[in-house]
């Protein structure tokens, strides 16, 4: 199914609350929303809120669509984000009723696993937000394992939502404050030690994705990674988000991705 045509609108904040640690959950009423595919993202412009226009910080911020539910003349779109800089700092401040410029959904969506093929979703830090919808949709016709990792318990996002999905969920934190102590890549190694077909989906910090790609390749399992590059436009016109390809040249993360087969990526060329 083709991904829906993106829109550009002023979304209205419905809720903006702490999700523990530096993480927040933002719920936006987006009129005219036409649906989205798992792994797609939106561009949000907290720096130029519609009521007080300002130009610093200038660029919109890419944020995965965590999930969405029909509401009013569109949908309530949910974003899970981590406050990590100026743009997300401003986003943490927006109040219910205020507006945030939104463009999306953008990017390709994940190809769902084939029926019967086991899906292993590995996500670290804010990458967790990119895989929830994939888990939700894939579990309809496949067995889904979700492996979430973070530095510490507070950095994990949406754990309860994954729990209520009823997927097999395992957690890892570097300090052991939630789930197993260690890296989520260790969980992947354990999962892949079990026989059978499995497709691996990964979103998280670059070193983590690269390691997951290696682990999957060693087991001969297909691995899809969702890259995070700095973006200016999000829809393929600034050419700013180029990711180097193993075959030479570049792909645009926003248009050709954000997900790529792991072997397509020239890891050593990523910033």
């Amino acid at each position: 199914m083709a991904d829906p045509v993106p829109i550009r609108t002023d979304a209205v904040v419905v809720e903006n609350r702490s999700e523990g640690g530096a993480n927040r959950r933002l719920r936006l009423q987006v009129d005219g929303w036409r649906g989205f595919g798992p792994g797609q993202f939106v561009m949000l412009s907290p720096g130029s809120r519609a009521d007080v226009v300002r130009s610093d910080p200038l660029l919109p911020r890419p944020m995965a669509v965590y999930r969405a539910a029909p509401a009013g003349a569109g949908a309530v779109v949910e974003i899970l984000f981590k406050v990590s800089g100026r743009g997300t700092g401003l986003l943490a401040d927006v109040l219910p009723g205020q507006r945030v410029a939104l463009v999306g959904p953008l990017g390709r969506s994940f190809d769902l696993p084939e029926s019967g093929e086991r899906a292993i979703l590995v996500a670290g830090g804010t990458g967790i937000a990119s895989v929830y919808e994939l888990a939700a949709r894939a579990r309809a016709n496949t067995e889904v394992s979700v492996l979430l990792g973070a530095r510490t318990r507070d950095d994990l996002m949406g754990v309860e939502d994954f729990e209520s999905l009823g997927v097999a969920l395992r957690l890892a934190t570097e300090d052991g404050s939630a789930g197993e102590q260690g890296l989520v890549t260790a969980l992947l190694e354990a999962e892949l030690a079990v026989d059978g077909t499995a497709r691996v989906y990964v979103c998280g910090p670059t070193p983590m994705m690269r390691r997951c790609a290696e682990i999957s390749a060693a087991r001969g399992r297909p691995c899809v990674v969702s890259l995070e590059n700095t973006m200016a436009c999000g829809f393929g016109v600034c050419l700013g988000c180029a990711a180097p390809l193993a075959t030479g040249g570049y792909a645009l993360v926003c248009r050709d991705g954000p997900m790529f087969d792991a072997e397509q990526v020239a890891w050593e060329g990523l910033p």
Binding site: V53, S55, D56, L58, C238, L239, A243, Y250
Partner: protein
């Protein structure tokens, strides 16, 4: 003018008739069709496509962009699909009635002329814009538009290669923009576009490295608007060529400032990234302004800046 009558927004830019003075800038509008979901391309005056070279090019390794105060830095370099793919694949999907200006650049003058010739065969293209902000390989990294002699040679040879409306897009990284404008006029350009991005540098103090893989990049966005307005004003006093004003335009008010400073039309750049429908809103806003001020023709605004008598040097 009666309040109900729609003002006349048409302008003629260097022999290119435009339904209104709002174009979008090269490198910020892709090949046009990317904006179709957000904007009726017939609503705006037209667009300038991403600069083309003879052969497709890959561009720089990442990071290619970086945020800056009220702006951004980019070092995309020459990445584009090449002139043939543009004509064969990109142009045909542009709806009729949309004005397309093709932008071109190369690293040597002969290359420019070749691209210009190829583009001139294409009736669907309304005009050419020569991007003179590319480093001139023979001058060791100095941009074509930074040296009046090199610029003259460039304009002369592209002028010979095409009889189509020819705009030259100037580099802002110069001492005297008026001098560069005069060179374009003398060599037969039909108009000038300014400004391209301002050369800048950003550093990551933690890694102690430049943020961009290319070290230097081009600063664009609202940060450069006062510089762009100044240069448009200076160029408009140096030549009679029509000027297309570019730099940090994000609202109708911004566009009007450029018209007042002497621009016949404007191009919206970086703002397209933040809001892909912004160019249409700028058109609306200009119409509102004209109605509100009882101005019949948008062209009445061009160069209408009122300078205090004691400052008219």
């Amino acid at each position: 003018m009666s309040a109900s009558q729609a003002p006349d927004t048409r302008v003629d830019l260097a022999g290119i008739p435009l339904r209104n003075p709002v174009l979008t800038a090269s490198g910020t509008f892709g090949y046009g069709s990317e904006f179709a979901p957000f904007l009726d391309l017939r609503r705006i005056g037209g667009f300038v496509a991403k600069s083309l070279t003879l052969k497709p090019r890959f561009g720089n390794p990442p990071p290619r962009i970086s945020e800056a105060p009220s702006g951004m830095l980019n070092a995309i370099s020459l990445e584009n699909v090449g002139v043939d793919a543009f004509i064969d694949e990109k142009l045909p999907v542009i709806p009729d009635g949309v004005t397309v200006i093709a932008s071109l650049f190369e690293t040597e003058i002969a290359g420019y002329a070749a691209v210009a010739e190829r583009l001139s065969e294409e009736p669907r293209i309304a005009g050419l814009e020569v991007n003179a902000s590319c480093p001139h390989v023979k001058s060791g990294g100095i941009e074509f538009g930074q040296n009046p002699k090199v610029l003259a040679e460039l304009v002369r040879s592209v002028r010979r290669a095409t009889s189509r409306p020819l705009l030259v897009k100037l580099s802002p990284n110069v001492t005297d923009i008026g001098e560069m404008a005069r060179v374009c006029e003398a060599e037969g350009a039909d108009g000038i576009s300014l400004i391209n991005a301002v050369q800048g540098l950003e550093v990551d103090p933690e890694t102690r490295r430049p943020v961009l893989s290319n070290v230097l990049g081009g600063l664009s966005g609202p940060a450069i608007r006062p510089i762009a307005l100044r240069m448009v004003w200076q160029a408009s006093r140096a030549v009679t060529l029509p000027i297309c004003g570019i730099g940090g335009i994000a609202t109708a008010a911004d566009a009007i400032k450029f018209l007042l400073c002497g621009a016949t039309a404007v191009q919206v750049g970086t703002a397209n990234y933040l809001d892909p429908a912004v160019a249409g809103e700028i058109v609306d806003g200009i119409e509102d302004y004209l109605k509100r001020h009882g101005i019949e023709r948008v062209s009445d605004l061009v160069g209408a800046l009122e300078i205090p008598p004691d400052r008219r040097s």
